[in-house]
């Protein structure tokens, strides 16, 4: 059973979202997502300043045998991305909820509230 912190919100495309401050969020991929991908070898990050749409691809996560698009769970403006992942892609596998965070985004609090909670995400996995 993969780990699902209760304080986070989730998307159906397996991203987690943490609220850092009002209108300011941090995004990564879930433990379940990293298990599906296998060993991550490279992350193509969105760039700070870039405007992104919810559910649109904004990066790529590559494992040895797969490449998956990274989706933004929220619409807004990227304010930071985790450049340390370039040298440490294994953090996505080892610490997906902490050092493995991928980008930070400014978005509407209302959109955040509409994302899945841990229980609803868990159910979406069971389907």
């Amino acid at each position: 059973m993969s780990e699902l912190p209760a304080q986070l919100r989730y998307s159906k495309t397996h991203e987690w979202v943490a609220q850092l401050a009002p209108g300011h969020f941090r995004v990564g991929i879930t433990d379940h997502a990293q298990e599906l991908l296998g060993d991550v070898v490279f992350v193509e990050l969105p760039q700070a300043g870039q405007e992104v749409e919810a559910e649109a691809a904004c990066g790529v996560i590559e494992s040895v045998k797969a490449a998956s698009d990274l989706y933004s769970p929220l619409s807004g403006k990227i304010v930071a991305s985790n450049t340390e992942l370039a040298d440490n892609p294994q953090w996505l596998n080892e610490k997906p909820y902490d050092q493995g965070w991928i980008f930070e985004i400014e978005a509407a609090d209302g959109d955040f509230a509409k994302l899945l909670d841990a229980e609803a995400y868990q159910q979406s996995l069971g389907a």
């Binding site: 070898v41 490279f42 040895v64 045998k65």
Partner: protein, 449 residues
């Protein structure tokens, strides 16, 4: 039954296990209306009679003293090159997807990549593309992926016309425009215009152009750098034993380097199979087309090799792949690696030097023949243009009668080319007696004109 081992009893036992009565039953899901035969294909024949027939066909191509080049060159291939490359373990192995069962091919490809990065002074080399021309098309596509807002590639008129035609076929389908930069008709070398190139992604820089001339590569590279254009170098790998490596051109070096690998141990074979080599800067590795081998370790920590960054490739990324290429030119690369190892630095330099020196000798003697001119004064490697007092194709055909393939008429490469110009190439295989025969034969033809 040639190459099918089953005897009647075995076939019967297998059919019985399957629950079929006859071999034809195995096709019972195929609609009967679609089942047919191929009657224009002749009856089969024995290996002996096949050999006899094919030896007769092969003999129709008689041995010639070869002075033709234009991108494909008759260099010497040491005996051990194909002796090893044809070993069944290389010749009949599959693509090395199962790394543990393919360490021989994988280490060899890693060594190939190392040879090519050193020869071109670049950081990354793939494991080959189809040929030089299609490799150049891939380089242009990669440049556009690196510069997604650009729509143009700058192509010097000095690029081989047959390579240019390949770009014309492959690039416009993706909306890419080829903008031609003219050669200076006086010098035959590229002249740099002062225009707006803000839509362009890259400048192609052929070092050795269609007239056999060397270009001022540093100037061209700096010109492109100043306009923030990527530099795509097109080079001859044997000439690189002498010439400045593209990684050292200008201030920042070339970004992508491609070329025809045929001069590295691959027989001329009427045009193929050859192989294209492709090297680039490390920053671009995720946009690289084709296979790539990396050094790693096995579960016990021992050095091992495997294919890597396969997520770029069609079998994983499908429509999003960097290229559609799957099968490449593995066996030719096997030969080229053994060829480079056998020659070594000294042997490759010696072959390049001799090719160069024979061209200089032949050029100076031919220039003294009546009516023969050298239209371009610039420096050459092993190939030069001869302007003849008669149509070049007529001279070529006349010399063919004397067992000499005198060169390639520029008109053959480009229907708009000058009719009297002949492109002549030498390699270390052209010995003094070949040069003498060429001069005597041409003198006889021109004297009798």
């Amino acid at each position: 039954m040639p190459y099918i081992p089953h005897d009647a009893a075995e076939t019967a036992a297998m059919l019985e296990a399957i629950g079929a009565n006859r071999l034809e039953d195995l096709f019972d899901e195929i609609p009967a209306a679609l089942q047919t035969d191929v009657l224009s294909v002749p009856e089969g024949c024995s290996e002996a009679s096949l050999r006899r027939a094919m030896e007769e066909r092969a003999a129709e191509q008689r041995s010639l003293r070869c002075f033709a080049g234009a991108g494909a060159y008759a260099h010497h291939i040491p005996a051990i090159v194909w002796e090893i490359a044809q070993r069944g373990e290389f010749y009949s192995a599959y693509t090395p997807y199962q790394a543990e069962a393919s360490q021989g091919t994988l280490q060899l490809l890693y060594e190939f990549q190392s040879f090519m990065t050193r020869l071109t002074a670049m950081e990354i080399s793939n494991a080959s593309l189809y040929d030089g021309a299609s490799a150049l098309a891939e380089a242009c596509l990669m440049a556009l992926r690196l510069r997604p807002k650009a729509r143009e590639i700058l192509v010097p008129e000095g690029l081989w016309p047959h390579w240019r035609r390949v770009l014309d076929s492959l690039l416009p389908m993706q909306g890419i425009h080829l903008r031609v930069l003219p050669q200076d008709p006086r010098t035959g070398r590229l002249s740099l215009p002062e225009e707006d190139f803000s839509d362009a992604a890259a400048l192609i820089i052929p070092q050795i152009n269609r007239f056999g001339l060397l270009e001022e590569v540093d100037e061209l590279a700096l010109w492109a750098e100043a306009r923030d254009l990527l530099r795509i170098a097109v080079v001859n790998p044997v000439a690189l034993a002498l010439l400045k490596a593209p990684g050292d051109w200008g201030g920042q070096g070339a970004d992508i380097v491609v070329g025809e690998g045929q001069p590295l141990g691959v027989p001329l074979a009427g045009g193929g199979p050859y192989f294209g080599f492709f090297t680039c800067k490390r920053a671009y590795v995720r946009q690289l087309p084709g296979r790539l081998v990396a050094k790693t370790v096995d579960a016990a920590g021992k050095t091992a090799y495997c294919l890597t960054l396969q997520a770029r490739e069609q079998h994983i990324r499908r429509a999003g792949a960097t290229s559609n290429i799957c099968t490449n030119q593995g066996l030719l690369v096997t030969a080229a690696t053994i060829h480079l190892a056998t020659l070594g630095a000294d042997g490759l330099r010696a072959a390049a030097l001799r090719s160069h020196q024979q061209a200089l000798r032949l050029r100076s003697v031919l220039a003294d023949l009546p009516g023969v001119e050298l239209p371009y004064p610039g420096p050459v490697f092993n190939e030069f243009v001869l302007r003849l007092p008669q149509p070049a194709s007529r001279v070529r055909d006349a010399l063919l009668e004397k067992g000499i393939l005198a060169g390639v008429p520029l008109l053959d490469l480009d229907a708009a080319g000058p009719a009297h110009d002949l492109l002549v190439a030498t390699t270390e295989l052209n010995e003094e007696e070949d040069l003498d025969a060429y001069v005597a034969a041409l003198a006889a033809i021109l004297g009798g004109a």
